[in-house]
């Protein structure tokens, strides 16, 4: 006589706990490493050595900024948590080709017009201590 086949349940209680833990850990890792909270991000715009202009990245709608640089006006669009150059008087338009910035630490520059666009944390004080860099 054949022994009845024992099929284990798909999930035991412990399996469900492990699965939930894995989902929670994955979510936490995503939050820490990939997810970029736009309310914590701001755009720092520096033009021709002038004190930086700070704009929040979390604002609603579309904001077009015109910044006077060394050789003309650079237009910067801030929209949907991103910032980008859309026009600049430089000969090659490399700053426009750099595309939209959306994560903290990203930067785009129009070197001929001396305009720098940088995404920074709201906690980060622009150019702290007046330092130009830190050797580490």
């Amino acid at each position: 006589m054949n022994k009845p086949l024992h099929i284990p349940p798909a999930f035991r209680k412990a399996d469900i706990i492990v699965l939930l833990l894995l989902i929670a850990i994955t979510g936490l890792c995503w939050k820490i490493t990939i997810y970029d909270d736009k309310s914590q991000t701001q755009v720092e715009i520096t033009a021709n050595g002038a004190p930086p202009l700070i704009v929040s990245l979390s604002q609603k709608g579309r904001q077009l900024m015109e910044v006077q640089g060394l050789i003309g006006i650079s237009k910067i669009l801030i929209e949907n948590g991103t910032a980008q150059f859309i026009s600049s008087p430089c000969p090659h338009g490399l700053c426009i080709k750099m595309g939209s910035l959306s994560k903290k630490g990203q930067a785009a520059a129009c070197v001929p017009n001396r305009v720098l666009l940088r995404l920074i944390s709201t906690n980060e004080k622009p150019n702290e201590n007046g330092l130009d860099g830190i050797s580490r």
Partner: protein, 145 residues
């Protein structure tokens, strides 16, 4: 492109040329090996490179010991004579290479070597927090106000 001054920062290794508007030199902080949020001094530089090697950037701790990425070729283990070395040189490649070599050599031998090299200055922080400098390094240090 007509650029008269710039500071290039490649992950903490820097090369500057020219002077900032107002004819001011670039101000570079040297990171505190014990606290990433603070600095131990400020350098005023132009037309030179600054690189720092330290045991605080890439490491793990095991059995209460810090195991970092700068290995002493004599032992195959992380160098223990130094916490951080900052080198000023004409090229970033030279500054970075010497910073790592000086780290492994230890403060006294490294400062002796730096004093004998042309256009090279070095500052070293030892594990006992003592600060060693080559002869010409202090001329780059910003004096506290």
């Amino acid at each position: 492109m007509g650029i008269k001054a710039a500071l290039v920062n490649a992950g903490g290794d820097l090369r500057s040329f020219g002077l900032k508007p107002g004819k001011k030199p670039f101000r570079i902080g040297i990171q505190n090996p014990d606290n990433a949020q603070s600095i131990v001094g400020i350098l005023r530089v132009t037309d030179c490179a600054v690189a720092t090697s330290g045991d605080y950037e890439r490491f793990f701790k095991m059995d209460g010991k810090r195991w970092h990425h700068i290995l002493d070729p004599k032992t195959g283990r992380p160098g223990r004579l130094t916490r951080s070395v900052t080198v000023i040189a004409q090229s970033t490649m030279m500054a970075d290479g010497l910073a790592t070599a000086f780290f492994v050599m230890g403060p006294k031998a490294a400062i002796d070597l730096a004093n004998g090299l042309k256009d090279i200055e070095a500052a070293i922080i030892a594990p006992n927090k003592r600060f060693y400098m080559s002869r010409g390094f202090s001329k780059y240090l910003e004096k506290e106000k």
